[in-house]
């Protein structure tokens, strides 16, 4: 695993982007806001869904009003701002900005080190989850796992890329890293712990969160926003090309590692094909979410 704090989605970014999306929909977003929004949309699954819905609404409205358009104003403005912003970057300017960026990053790193104990406090809203959602989808009243590929070579700054979506056959390359995020918006029962494990086509187990030595699952908070789990998973370690079925086990009470291990062992002993494994046979009350991840690369 490797750590990369700067790439984790932050709650404040998320809230800002949803507000920007609303402004953009009303045609009130500035050029800078549009560029920021486009960057955020690259990796934020929930915002992408909201954007999709908003565009669909506008397309329907355009159709009803008799306007024959290929793109609605929101789509047009967003792409325009991003493209012109990228084109304005000249190589010399980029080099200069790189130096400035590096200096700022070094200063920030120093500050971060000094302020680390303060930053460790969880002040991302009230702990009881009373913070109302902003412009969230109605369908978000649930639990979910969302996976993202981290692609260092993607153009237009799109390093985060959705690796999973409802009903989609998506995937990451073997050289990429995987970022796991969760949504925990179920009203009843309330889930407090999460295990994330995977099985590949050979039924080899992947312990993602937490490590198998942990006493129970990762403690999670109630949220209508996607929350990233720490660190990233380097797919070139312990993975091979092919399908990995990722299980997210949300539970109200602690489930110990031994129970997870037994469930996985039972599946392995039955030797059922991966496609037929819909849940882990845990024997305790838990909500299980299954996400398929295709890893793309050359088979050795």
């Amino acid at each position: 695993m490797m750590t990369s704090n700067e790439q984790q989605p932050r709650g404040s970014d998320h809230r800002r982007s949803l507000a920007q999306l609303r402004k953009a929909t009303l045609g009130r977003a500035s050029h800078r806001e549009l560029v920021q929004l486009a960057r955020h949309l690259k990796w934020c699954g929930l915002c992408r869904e909201t954007y999709d819905r908003q565009v669909e609404v506008d397309r329907e409205l355009a159709r009803l009003s008799g306007a024959e358009v290929e793109l609605v104003p929101l789509e047009r403005a967003l792409a325009r701002a991003t493209v012109l912003d990228a084109a304005a970057e000249v190589p010399g300017g980029r080099r200069w900005r790189l130096w400035v960026g590096l200096s700022v990053a070094a200063t920030l790193a120093l500050l971060l080190l000094l302020l680390w104990p303060v930053l460790l406090r969880d002040d991302d809203g009230p702990p009881d989850g009373r913070r109302p959602p902003e412009f969230a989808l109605r369908g978000a009243d649930a639990v979910a796992l969302r996976l993202y590929c981290i692609d260092p070579g993607a153009p237009t700054g799109g390093r985060f890329r959705p690796a999973s979506a409802d009903g989609g056959a998506l995937g990451c390359r073997l050289g990429e890293s995987l970022k796991v995020t969760y949504l925990n918006a179920a009203a009843k029962p309330r889930y407090r712990y999460l295990w994330v494990v995977g099985l590949d086509e050979e039924l080899e187990v992947k312990w993602y969160y937490p490590t198998p030595g942990a006493r129970s699952g990762v403690a999670i908070k109630e949220t209508r926003e996607l929350v990233p789990l720490p660190d990233m998973i380097r797919l070139e370690v312990n993975h091979r090309p092919g399908l990995v079925r990722v299980f997210g086990v949300f539970s109200s009470s602690r489930i110990d590692a031994e129970r997870i291990r037994r469930a996985l062992e039972r599946i392995r002993s039955e030797r059922r094909p991966l496609a037929k494994i819909r849940a882990l046979p845990l024997g305790v009350e838990a909500r299980q979410v299954v996400v398929d991840l295709r890893i793309i690369g050359e088979r050795r």
Partner: protein, 236 residues
Amino acid sequence: MTLLTEDRSLLDSYRRGDRAALERVYDHYVDHVAAFLRGGFTFSSKGETLAFKGYRSPADLQDMLQETFCRAFSPRARQAYDGIHPFTSYLLTIARNLTIDRFRRQVREVYEPVAGGPDDRLDGGGPGLDGEPAGPPSPERELLDREVAEMVRGFYAELDEHDRRVLRVYFEGEEGQRAAAAELEMTRHQLRKAIGRIRTRLQLRLIKGGYLARGGRDGRELRKSAMLLLVALVLR
């Protein structure tokens, strides 16, 4: 679609990367690229003919639009364009290649083998094959889409003829707004305000219908908008 081949000074400005020229090129070609990416095309990969059925998600379409134009506006691509062949073909080739690269990375869209041969129509004519949505949407998604479409239709049905006209002008873009504002006997500022008012009403309708939730700062802003709307209606 021959803007750059006919206007040599614009071509020079494009090659230099002048912002105004890039804006003009973008505005001129973006619809065509969007139609191509939504419509899809066929191509060959490892001896197999595959059909890309077009981007069904607006967010994916947005990504590819951005990537296509970013690539076309890069210094290298600007210099590489010969100024003789149609720029549309140049753009669509970029869009096509980026989409195929994406396919090779097996990222998102659904592709399937087809019986016919590959379609390499990039002559600046049609935007590729007529596409169907790639794979059926989930029942939940279908239901939500239906509900929303119904809500939007209900909203539209309640608009008077003037507001419908305003909406149409809004969707048809900036250029038509000047002429339309005059025709509607409104200034452009009044027209923009009218568009904002209608859009806000729709947002409120969507929230009231449960399609979008509100809260926090957004909720306050929307309440403020609702109050302003109420005041405007009373004054009217």
